[in-house]
């Protein structure tokens, strides 16, 4: 049933897109295929090239090489006006001299809809973001979250197939952010549009996206569904950027343990804190590969308890245990052994 509603338009293809500023290569030959109706996030630290990538898609930056296709149209060299994309800007970019209604009508007036049509469609978009009561207000008379919703309404009011969002939630506080994430996601599903979302917040990316591209130094380090990237990161950067990660270098580990794990020089072991299982030293079955250490620190974080374990003089790892009554509690100075439940919980990954 659902498949029938899938929009066939709104696919984006990047082919070998490169952007340089002087000697600096900001985006280094990236290839991307974004499907129609997909929620796609570009995630990376500042300077990773994610914003530049989005700007090239929006038309505010021209690639030095490569091709960007929107469906079967080459848009790489079109002006922003000609691309027909919706966009939500980092600081909303609402027109301060126009009311909410006028802001939302702007793209419709540009497209020369009749004034009746303009009004009806703008009302529809404003209802969609639940701001009907505020349509006469100026942006400065609204809260941050409300301004965000106006920007959203303005971006979708002309039914673009693709909506671009440049860190749209960066200015909001944490609770509001989560709520807005859900609203944006719901809107995207309801209108069945492709969303390309730029963020440096990994939780936000995981919560909203169908797929995530992790960017670093102008390249895509890894691309995949949130769960897939989280559970099997391709390299140390991807492991560390998406979620918390314990990385144990070859040099950090005892020779017996390396041999047991089949670890070669240049490789490392990767395990998420929540996959680390702690046991009092004496309780560990002898047939398990084991690492031992001493509890260095216990942090109570509400829903979880985070232990910091000193494995050797230079090596520490984190272990998270859910705050359940039946979980065994340790205190600072306890000797513990470190293990994991399933073989796939610990992986061998490379530095790059």
């Amino acid at each position: 049933m659902v498949a029938e509603f899938v929009n066939r338009r709104g696919s984006i293809r990047f082919r070998n897109i490169t952007k340089k500023y002087g000697d600096l290569t900001v985006v280094d030959g990236i290839d991307l295929d974004i499907k129609p109706g997909e929620f796609f996030s570009l995630l990376g630290p500042s300077g990773s090239g994610k914003t530049t990538t989005l700007m090239m898609l929006a038309g505010f930056a021209v690639p030095d090489a490569g091709q960007i296709m929107l469906d079967d149209r080459d848009i790489s060299r079109l002006s922003p006006q000609e691309r027909n994309l919706g966009m939500v800007f980092q600081n909303y970019a609402l027109f301060p001299h126009m009311s909410v209604l006028e802001n939302v009508m702007f793209p419709l007036k540009v497209r020369k809809f009749s004034s009746k049509d303009c009004l009806e469609r703008a009302q529809w978009a404003i209802d969609l973001v639940r701001l009907s009561k505020f349509s006469k207000r100026l942006p400065k008379e609204l809260s941050g979250g409300q301004q965000q919703r106006v920007a959203l309404a303005r971006a979708v009011v002309f039914h673009p197939e693709v909506v671009l969002m440049d860190e749209p939630l960066g200015a909001l506080d944490k609770n509001l952010r989560y709520q807005m994430q859900m609203e944006i996601k719901e809107l995207q599903r309801k209108l069945n549009m492709t969303v390309v979302f730029v963020t440096h917040d990994q939780e936000e990316a995981m919560n909203m996206s169908d797929r995530i591209a992790i960017m670093n130094n102008g390249r895509i380090e890894q691309l995949g569904a949130p769960k897939e990237v989280y559970e099997s990161p391709r390299n140390v950067f991807a492991a560390g950027f998406l979620g918390e990660a314990n990385i144990l270098d070859f040099e950090d580990l005892h020779a017996n343990f390396r041999r047991h794990m089949g670890l070669n020089p240049g490789e490392c072991l990767f395990i998420r804190p929540e996959r680390v299982v702690l046991a009092a030293s004496s309780e560990v079955p002898a047939d398990r590969p084991r690492l031992g250490g001493e509890v260095l620190n216990v942090s109570f974080l509400g829903n979880i308890v985070r232990y910091q374990i000193q494995l050797s003089e230079t090596v520490r790892i984190y272990a998270d245990s859910t705050n359940l009554s039946d979980a065994q509690a340790f205190s600072v100075g306890d000797r513990v052994s470190v293990g994991w439940k399933r073989p796939e919980d610990i992986r061998i990954i490379h530095h790059d």
Binding site: Q81, N91, F95, V110
Partner: protein, 288 residues
């Protein structure tokens, strides 16, 4: 030892002063060198006048000469302000768009004349606009005209000269406003499909309106009291209020009349200033 002294000096209470207090020296200066002389001038004129001073004022303000000069002053100031706006807007706009090199270049072109004596600048215009000036010589050489145009010693000359002199005020006021317009608003407009001209008309221009209003009022106030340029570049008919005042003080020695005329000019300026305060956000201009 010195440390102890310093500590005592900077201790709380001693040098603490509200920053508002800093305005008093300026107010004192204005009182002694501006308000008192003007008040004295009015009072002395009124006392010296033999007969009914109020009747004299009424007679002055209804005389044909006064009405002609008043209208001329209002009209020339308006023309000058409009032309200055037309010239300043593109200059200020290009300032907001330009790289640091062209920015400096334009700023120099706008500011350096501002620091040059107004008399020198006005005489330079006489070289350019005179009957044997550069423009006339060129137009005759090209063959557009046979006889030189009268660009000087008439209203054309006055308006050109005053527009030029007052241009920097308008450019700087507009630039201050335009610079504060978020570039992303224009980008947003373009991303929604609007042409650059549409974005200018619907977004940039309305947002630059505060600059237009304050620039307009500042330049108008300055133009209404202008003396040097109309005196040097105008003809016998182009008498502005400030010139009439000067004539009454220095030539006809009719101080009471001069005083009445200054009163008029001051009142007009204050009225415009009241508009200025009402329609421009002073706090914003002061960066608060």
């Amino acid at each position: 030892m010195t440390e102890a002294i310093m500590r005592r000096r900077v201790g709380p209470g001693r040098f603490q002063m509200k920053s508002e207090n800093l305005i008093y020296p300026v107010l004192a200066f204005l009182l002694v060198f501006f308000i008192l002389p003007i008040a004295w001038f009015f009072i002395k004129s009124a006392l010296d006048y033999e007969g009914n001073f109020a009747a004299m004022l009424l007679e002055t303000f209804t005389s044909p000469l006064f009405i002609t000069v008043a209208w001329k002053t209002i009209w020339i100031s308006l023309l000058v302000t409009l032309f200055a706006l037309a010239a300043a807007y593109p200059i200020a706009y290009s300032l907001t768009r330009s790289s640091s090199f062209t920015f400096t270049l334009i700023i120099i072109c706008v500011i350096v004349p501002y620091f040059t004596s107004i008399i020198v600048r006005t005489y330079s215009w006489m070289i350019i606009l005179g009957t044997k000036g550069i423009i006339n010589e060129f137009l005759i050489y090209v063959g557009v005209i046979d006889k030189p145009l009268n660009l000087m010693y008439n209203m054309v000359g006055v308006v050109i000269g005053m527009t030029y002199v007052l241009l920097p005020y308008f450019v700087l006021t507009l630039f201050a406003t335009m610079k504060s317009i978020d570039v992303w608003l224009l980008q947003a407009g373009r991303s929604m499909g609007a042409s650059n001209f549409y974005v200018f008309r619907k977004v940039f221009f309305p947002l630059s309106m505060p600059g237009i209003v304050s620039g307009f009022l500042i330049v108008y106030i300055l133009a209404a009291g202008f003396f040097v340029t109309p005196a040097l570049m105008g003809g016998p008919n182009d008498v502005m209020m400030a010139m009439l005042i000067q004539r009454n003080i220095e030539v006809t020695l009719d101080w009471p009349l001069a005083s009445a005329l200054s009163l008029f000019l001051l009142v007009v300026t204050l009225i415009i200033y009241a508009f200025y305060c009402k329609y421009t956000d002073m706090d914003k201009m002061l960066g608060k």
